[in-house]
């Protein structure tokens, strides 16, 4: 996108771009209205547009640090968004910081979910706690957090099963997992990350709302941004629900996780980013 003057045609082009990023009609219209308001006071409307989009994403994202380790992070979301893979990548980040990590195989439902997480634990070289398929996920979480506490580990990552937010029983099961974790560490889980697939449309907002009603979501991980989908639904999620985006997933490999950067994200939405070689 590039433009100097804000005529009707340009405004339409911008609106189309925003809607095709999955931002949603409502949020896109609000952006357009703001842009119209501010444009006459500005001589660089493109910069004004970027500013408006950045403002939408502005929200304090606090890093959680428990008084005593371990830090417990639960990773949740609908089916197939990238929860397990994100846990693999996250554990690598923690290990790089010199932390001792425990992975908890609490997806005891999906075929080979346990094996998948085990492979990640071996890749990264971290502890792996499981009771196999069919076990009670809450019991596995209890085990993992107890293990981490008694063995002075720094971080526990809880891999939960994919579940649609519309399934009452499964959402209750998730609550139970968190309740049982609290029996070991009352403040835990300190972080609850909701994983959203960047290809998701308007349902992403519904997912976030329902998961937030169920558990205390502290952040979003937006995965699969290495494709052509833009992930614009997070504008609506951040704005309506006040949940910050913490990380983005940009591939299937262990290093393909990055902290969220709203400047870069806005440039990518508008297609104005400079080409940048992936740093290693």
């Amino acid at each position: 996108l590039s433009f100097e003057k804000l005529d009707d045609e340009t405004l339409e082009e911008i609106e189309e771009l925003l809607i095709t990023s999955d931002m949603g009609v409502k949020t896109a219209s609000e952006v357009i209205e703001k842009l119209k308001e501010r444009a006459n006071k500005s001589d660089n409307p493109l910069e004004t547009l970027k500013e408006i989009l950045r403002e939408l994403l502005k929200i304090d994202s606090v890093e959680k640090h428990p008084e005593l380790p371990p830090l417990v992070i639960s990773v949740v979301g609908v089916n197939g968004t990238g929860k397990t893979t994100t846990i693999g990548k996250l554990s690598k980040r923690f290990v790089n910081e010199g932390k001792k990590v425990v992975l908890a195989a609490c997806d005891t439902f999906r075929a080979a979910a346990v094996e998948q997480l085990k492979i990640w634990s071996e890749r990264v070289g971290v502890d792996f706690i499981s009771q196999g398929q069919g076990a009670d996920p809450a019991a596995v979480a209890f085990d993992a957090v107890s293990h981490a506490k008694s063995k002075a580990k720094d971080v526990v990552l809880i891999d939960t099963a994919g579940r649609l937010h519309t399934k009452h029983n499964l959402m209750e099961e998730l609550k139970k997992v968190h309740r049982v974790i609290k029996k070991v560490i009352p403040e835990a889980p300190h972080e609850v990350l909701l994983v959203i697939d960047a290809t998701t449309g308007q349902n992403g907002l519904v997912q976030a709302r329902k998961f937030m009603e169920t558990v205390d979501i502290t952040g979003i991980v937006l995965t699969k941004l290495d494709g052509t989908a833009k992930g614009g639904i997070v504008f609506a999620i951040v704005r309506e629900l006040g949940i910050p985006v913490k990380y983005i997933g940009v591939g299937e490999s262990i290093d393909d996780l990055r902290p969220f950067n709203s400047d870069e994200f806005v440039e990518a939405i508008l297609g104005t980013e400079e080409f940048e070689e992936n740093e290693v």
């Binding site: 089916n79 998948q116 994919g162 697939d197 449309g201 308007q202 349902n203 494709g227 052509t228 299937e252």
Partner: protein
């Protein structure tokens, strides 16, 4: 809290009762409501634009203006137009070769492996002798996943050398012929449509197999970008159809309209649960209301 499309349209048409005849302006407002509803349902922007144009022409051209029940007349036009794009009725699988070959492809996490096993279970129930082939050698435990699903439904799973998907595919065919399987289902790795190397791999597998069906598995929650991935998969592989998964959620499923519009290929099945029997034939008329939001 949210007014559905039906209510909105009622309002558009009701606001004029008593004030005389329906005007072009009313129709345009009704069309605008349909447009917004389709965008809310994640139908691609460009697809909406073309669809809406057709609806508007019809609505202005037909008897809506003079009808005694303009709202019903209008809704009928919208529904009929939608069914026209989606196809009138279910299109089944066309499995003529012996053994018949079905290749499952798509983006990461869409539901290929699960849908492969669901189809195998369905064939088995119909008295056929299916073989599952684990051609995803990349995702951690993908092969294990298919093996476990195969065990659940008592369908054999061919794994080959667990390394080379192209070799696995051709060796699987020899195995299928040897053991007289009548339908072979190939589960492939998830991949991005912009990953040329991985797309090339699918092309090579398809060349060796010459499949009866190449089904792209698409998540019902997908938004605007679905047209891009579906288009590239279709151009690379000449898809024969789609499987739309996770329709047991509350996504409106506008993606169904988008992909049909850009590829012309039918949706053949829908996934309606995580369980192995959660697959159904797709009936276009049954999703029309869901996509429209009424």
């Amino acid at each position: 809290m949210f007014e559905n499309l039906q209510e909105k349209l009622n309002r558009v048409f009701k606001s004029l009762s008593g004030k005389g005849r329906i005007s072009e302006k009313n129709i345009k407002e009704a069309v605008r409501q349909v447009k917004l509803s389709l965008l809310e349902a994640d139908v691609n922007f460009k697809v909406v634009r073309e669809f809406i144009k057709a609806v508007q022409e019809k609505a202005l051209g037909e008897d809506v203006l003079s009808s005694l029940t303009p709202d019903q007349q209008f809704i009928k036009i919208v529904r009929d137009e939608l069914v026209k794009v989606l196809g009138e009725k279910n299109v089944g699988l066309s499995l003529s070769s012996k053994p018949a070959k079905i290749m499952m492809v798509g983006l990461q996490g869409s539901g290929k492996t699960t849908s492969s096993a669901k189809l195998a279970a369905k064939f088995k129930k119909e008295g056929k002798k299916p073989l599952l082939v684990a051609a995803d050698v990349y995702r951690p435990a993908a092969i294990d996943q298919l093996i476990q699903l195969g065990k659940q439904i008592d369908v054999p799973v061919f794994v080959g050398d667990r390394k080379n998907p192209i070799r696995i595919a051709s060796e699987a065919m020899a195995e299928a012929i040897k053991n007289v399987h009548d339908v072979v289902i190939f589960d492939t790795a998830g991949r991005l449509h912009i990953d040329d190397k991985m797309m090339e791999e699918l092309k090579e597998i398809a060349k060796i197999l010459n499949p009866d069906e190449i089904l792209m598995v698409v998540d019902a929650m997908t938004g605007q970008d679905a047209v891009n991935s579906a288009k590239v998969f279709n151009e690379t592989l000449e898809l024969t159809g789609f499987v739309i998964t996770k329709l047991d959620g509350d996504a409106r499923g506008g993606v169904i309209l988008s992909i049909r519009h850009v590829t012309g290929k039918p949706v053949k099945f829908i996934g309606v649960s995580e369980k192995i029997d959660g697959i159904e034939p797709f009936h276009p008329d049954r999703v029309v209301g869901r996509i429209l939001g009424m």
